[in-house]
């Protein structure tokens, strides 16, 4: 497909006889916000793990701007511009919130093997780190140990850390999960803001978030794509209704 930044062809991930992701084909268009939805156990997070190299593929191929990235290690895929957030907040609990974001910025800066240099050389990153924390409403929490932050703040911190890398493709695994209404509004605004000039793929259960935010929606059920298109199209799709509510409602 034209303008496809990420191309997924026939990917399969098996765990023994169980196929968690089964022959999935998908094109992610440059600059879009693409939602992956589906009932629990549909294979959405496994699909994310395959995209980021966290899990190896059983079959199939993934290309980023035409280059094969399937088989590359996770850190190499991240350096090529695909960075994710996790369903369960993945932060550095012993670091302060500021140090979490600074750590992501540090990777981009390079010179990470400099064991002779003082940690103070990283202070030049504080300005940008504080800006990112401010965008996520976390600036007051900058000096708080990340492990002591409330749940919603941890999720926000994880997004700030992910954004610090300025990724080409941002993968967000349930970014609003566990957040209150006010925080959800803030995160939705932020995703809209950061999606400018960037491609976003998100797994999301909150369908009103998906409806308001996403250009395209792909629905997974039992590891397979059962529908794809605009939110309006997939919402009226019988297979989707059946997958969510059971055959009696279809």
């Amino acid at each position: 497909m034209a303008n496809a930044v990420l191309t997924v062809r026939g990917i399969v991930r098996s765990f023994g006889a169980f196929r968690a992701v089964d022959e999935v084909n998908l094109d992610i268009i440059e600059g879009e916000i693409h939602a992956l939805i589906g009932p629990n156990g549909a294979g959405k997070t496994t699909f994310f793990n395959l995209l980021t190299g966290s899990l190896p593929l059983t079959e199939g191929e993934i290309r980023l701007r035409g280059e094969v990235i399937s088989g590359l290690p996770m850190d190499e895929i991240a350096r090529r511009g695909i960075v994710r957030s996790y369903q369960i907040s993945s932060i550095f609990p012993d670091f302060t919130a500021l140090a979490n974001v600074r750590f992501a910025l540090q990777r981009k800066r390079g010179a990470n093997f400099d064991f002779w240099r003082s940690e103070r050389s990283l202070e030049s990153l504080h300005g940008r780190a504080l800006e990112l924390l401010d965008e996520l409403g976390l600036v007051e929490w900058a000096d708080v140990r990340a492990g002591d932050l409330p749940y919603g703040r941890k999720r926000a911190l994880e997004i700030a850390t992910t954004l610090a890398l300025d990724p080409q493709i941002l993968l967000l695994d349930e970014p609003t999960s566990g957040m209150g209404r006010e925080d959800i509004g803030r995160v939705v605004d932020l995703i809209r803001k950061v999606s400018k000039g960037r491609t976003v793929v998100m797994v999301e259960h909150n369908l009103s978030v998906v409806e308001g935010l996403c250009n395209n929606v792909t629905v997974l059920a039992r590891g397979r794509v059962i529908a794809s298109g605009s939110y309006k199209d997939v919402a009226s799709n019988e297979k989707v209704v059946e997958a969510y509510l059971g055959a009696a409602h279809a």
Binding site: Y86, F92, N112, R117, S118, E119, V139
Partner: protein, 329 residues
């Protein structure tokens, strides 16, 4: 952006504003206290015993870099310590190298072995990592027993102390004491710098959440390997100094007892603290030294100490002090 300007001037991600020789205030006080102890030490204790403690401090600092700051537990550090000792001794006796080059030889061989062992072992984590390092170290022990250059059961003996820079004669215990004292202070400052460097920051992140570090684009295995190699080099360096001091390198240096001793030192001193290795080395080596007349009872007492610390003071002596004084040492 409210508050950002204010924060820029006051918030430093946990890095204290006031530093001395790269140490934060509390650590600088502890460091000066340590320097003072070194200065008065020979007035009260046998200098050669103190030198042994200082060598183990360097060894334990390197080990703590791995266990406390990278989260990797090795049971094979005796291989680096022992081979460092052997090569230093061999270089000084057979090749006639001076003090500096003999110590360098011991350090380089340990670093090279660390690179190879680390490359093999970092493919696994946790207990499997520890078991691989133990297995490799046992192989080295076997080689040390069989190879002619180690001198087998006799070891390498009559290793000359030589001179530093060609004019500081180390044959006097007092001169040797002050030379090693300067080296150990520099080594602790160097260890503190590694921990509080951009590299140290990555190691701490790897220990905290390796999966997240990978997902942010860090090649975690490379950082683990670098930490393992530095740690091995410090073991070889410490062993070389000890070999020069005692004039002998033996099978004891390469035996598993050395590997367990360095774990015990860090456990008692405080894993993941700057001064844990210092306090732990003084504590454990003093136990061995002063209880030596009681023979095998030392092992029993060491066992009791190990059990007490694991059950009651898991953060070690320095860790407990940190908790009490709410500071980082």
């Amino acid at each position: 952006m409210a508050g950002t300007a204010f924060l820029k001037t006051t918030r430093t991600a946990g890095v204290s504003q006031s530093q001395f020789l790269g140490f934060t205030k509390a650590r600088a006080i502890f460091f000066l206290l340590f320097a003072a102890l070194i200065a008065v030490g020979p007035q009260f204790l046998y200098p050669i015993f103190l030198i042994k403690v200082y060598c183990f401090i360097i060894f334990a600092c390197g080990y703590n870099l791995l266990l406390g700051y990278t989260g990797l537990m090795s049971f094979g550090h005796a291989a680096f310590f022992g081979m460092g000792a052997y090569l230093c001794g061999y270089a000084a006796t057979q090749w006639g190298l001076p003090f500096e080059l003999s110590v360098l030889a011991g350090t380089v061989i340990a670093a090279a072995m660390g690179l190879v062992f680390g490359w093999i072992a970092i493919r696994r984590t946790g207990l499997y990592f520890a078991m691989i390092t133990l297995a490799l170290a046992q192989m080295v022990y076997f080689i040390a027993m069989q190879a002619p250059f180690t001198g087998g059961e006799n070891g390498i003996q009559s290793i000359p102390r030589g001179t530093v820079l060609g004019f500081i004669d180390l044959s006097s215990n007092t001169t040797l004491y002050w030379v090693i004292s300067v080296i150990v202070l520099a080594a602790v400052a160097f260890y503190n710098r590694i921990i509080h460097s951009p590299f140290g920051q990555v190691l701490r992140a790897v220990r905290n959440n390796p999966e997240r570090a990978k997902s942010l684009g860090y090649n975690v295995d490379r950082f683990k390997l670098a930490a393992f190699t530095i740690s091995a080099a410090m073991a070889g360096f410490a062993a070389s100094l000890k070999t020069i001091t005692f004039g002998i390198a033996t099978l004891t240096d390469v035996s598993y007892v050395i590997s367990t001793e360095v774990v015990l030192i860090n456990l008692v001193g405080g894993i993941g603290t700057i001064f844990g290795p210092v306090v732990g080395s003084f504590f454990i080596l003093s136990l061995e030294h002063f209880l030596a007349p009681y023979g095998p009872w030392v092992l029993l007492i060491q066992g009791i100490v190990f059990t007490v610390f694991v059950l009651l003071f898991r953060q070690g002596i320095v860790g407990e002090l940190q908790k009490r004084f709410r500071t980082h040492l």
